[in-house]
């Protein structure tokens, strides 16, 4: 059902009720409106005033404190080095999330597959990557190039046939993307798995009874329905990833927003203004993402899985299928605490 239609229905509701009643009731005069003194909440006002005063004191004080270096904030906020670094942070986020979603989807499907080998591999992966801090993982990826300076192909403990220098992990940007993506994939796989599990078992059963293979059932029946459960928490993960990119300092990659801010402040000895600058940029990005997230969630919390707006009859029966609020459909927000 399209938006305007439903609006009209809601508006017309009281009108109709009123008409119906006036047709039956003998007394047509409207009931007297209730005049009462509303419940007061004096403490809310008191607390709000106290907090606002506190905030005002803090702001006035901060504006005068030299340590905040407000002129420096103004000077560096649109500095070319900073905006370029913000760009790097954005691309780190995008590449890492793409990698994480692909690997995560694969892991989730492996974990739910009837094949015990695939299941164990996925379990082991998630156990390791979710069980260790992302900071530690990034430090590790940073020194992989030292542990494995060359890639070799051949029979172990004999002279290798091919030797390729390890150029993947000497590129710190690629190393950062790999490190972030591999860690995030473990979380994404849990989100995808929750989505896949939220689809009613009867769906896969009906698909199987129609002689579709397991892969076809996943692709055409289960995954499309799981998307509405998967997408909102994925948006959440994007926001989280944007901030997690600041940990690439562990690799050490220092061309991202946080890294460059630290770099500048190390020269100018003005750490506070540059932290504020970096925070403002992070806030800008997360705010934009939050707005996007809001619309995505609105889009996917509507009704049952209808993609096109239908020319269908106005009074749909309650569908027997699992809606987005279906029981046992965990949200992605409770995977929390990483790094």
């Amino acid at each position: 059902m399209s938006e305007p239609e439903s609006d009209r229905m809601i508006e017309s509701e009281p009108d109709r009720k009123h008409r119906d009643r006036s047709g039956q009731d003998t007394d047509n005069s409207p009931a007297e409106a209730i005049v009462a003194i509303p419940l007061r909440h004096p403490w809310r006002i008191v607390i709000a005033v106290v907090l606002l005063l506190g905030l005002a004191v803090f702001v006035l004080d901060a504006a005068q404190r030299a340590d905040y270096g407000w002129p420096d904030v103004g000077k560096y906020i649109f500095d070319r080095r900073i905006s370029q670094a913000a760009w790097v942070t954005l691309w780190l986020t995008i590449y890492s999330m793409i990698g994480a979603i692909v690997i995560g989807l694969l892991l989730a499907i492996m974990r739910l597959s009837p094949n015990p080998v695939l299941k164990s591999i996925a379990w082991l992966y998630i156990w390791i990557f979710r069980g260790t801090p992302v900071y530690v993982q990034l430090v590790f990826w940073g020194i992989v190039a030292l542990i494995y300076p060359v890639f070799t192909l051949g029979i172990p403990f004999t002279t290798p046939w091919v030797t390729v220098p390890n150029e993947i992990f000497t590129n710190l940007f690629i190393t950062a993307v790999i490190g972030l993506a591999l860690n995030e994939a473990a979380y994404m796989s849990e989100i995808v798995r929750a989505g896949l599990l939220s689809v009613d078992e009867g769906q896969a059963e009906a698909s199987t009874a129609l002689a579709m293979s397991w892969g076809q059932t996943m692709r055409y029946v289960v995954v499309p329905q799981a998307m509405k459960i998967i997408i909102p928490p994925t948006g959440n993960e994007v926001i989280s990833m944007l901030k997690t990119t600041s940990l690439v300092a562990a690799i050490p990659l220092s061309i991202d927003l946080y890294g460059v801010s630290r770099g500048i402040s190390a020269v100018t000895f003005t750490p506070v203004p540059l932290l504020i600058v970096a925070s403002l940029w992070y806030l800008l990005f997360t705010s934009v993402l939050m707005v996007g997230q809001h619309f995505i969630e609105k889009r996917f919390s509507r009704g049952t899985g209808r993609i096109k707006s239908g020319k269908a009859p106005a009074a749909p029966e309650p569908a027997p299928t699992a809606g987005p609020g279906a029981p046992g459909a965990p949200l992605g927000t409770d995977f929390g605490g990483k790094g």
């Binding site: 009867g202 002689a211 579709m212 293979s213 020319k311 029966e317």
Partner: protein, 255 residues
Amino acid sequence: MTGVPMVLAEKVSKNFGSNRVLRGISLEVDPGEVLCIVGPSGSGKSTFLRCINHLEVVDGGRLSVDGQLVGYRQKGEKLYELKLKEAAFQRQEIGMVFQRFNLFPHLTAVENIILAPMRVKKISKAAATVRATELLERVGLGDKGDAYPAHLSGGQQQRVAIARALAMDPKLMLFDEPTSALDPELVGEVLDVMKGLAKSGMTMIVVTHEMGFAREVADTLVFMDDGVVVEAGAPRQILSDPQHDRTKAFLSKVL
């Protein structure tokens, strides 16, 4: 009747852990026959139905459809479990209709119907759509092709589900309590479609609580209780003159 029975069950048994759900079911369904299975809930009716198209794996006995063993291949004395692909191939010939319809909610009625013919039988979308429209007309829903399941009543959804099963051109149709989830006023339209299907010569096994339907349409009525076939025979005879105490007790409650 001569020839190979469509379904032949010989002492079929099935356990869920220590729970013996089927304890030696033997019955035979000839091509074109309509068999209705009735019985109290938990008697194993649905499980037996699900064994026939290998949604459940049989633990003991033999079960074959159209002369082919379900889920296994016999070589000499030994049985070999079928590959998933081979099991899927067997299922192509068996249509199934579920109590809760299980239509795909993200697809329209037509898309629901054409999905398996396109993906499994590799029929072109155009040809599959033509066939789907025919089938929808056959179940009285010619104008609902573009409707999503959520926009259809329960009775209409179940009729789409029947059309979806028929689209694979099955030799055998299984109905698992097809009207149990419906509002009473919607039961008739689904039963009518099933009656038409029975008249057209489709072999059907129907697990149902609709005694009127069983009396009118079934060639054979089977009463199951506690994982065994208690009584089987012509529906009129069983319904009017049940021989077994358990049948009598059950029928006195539902008739």
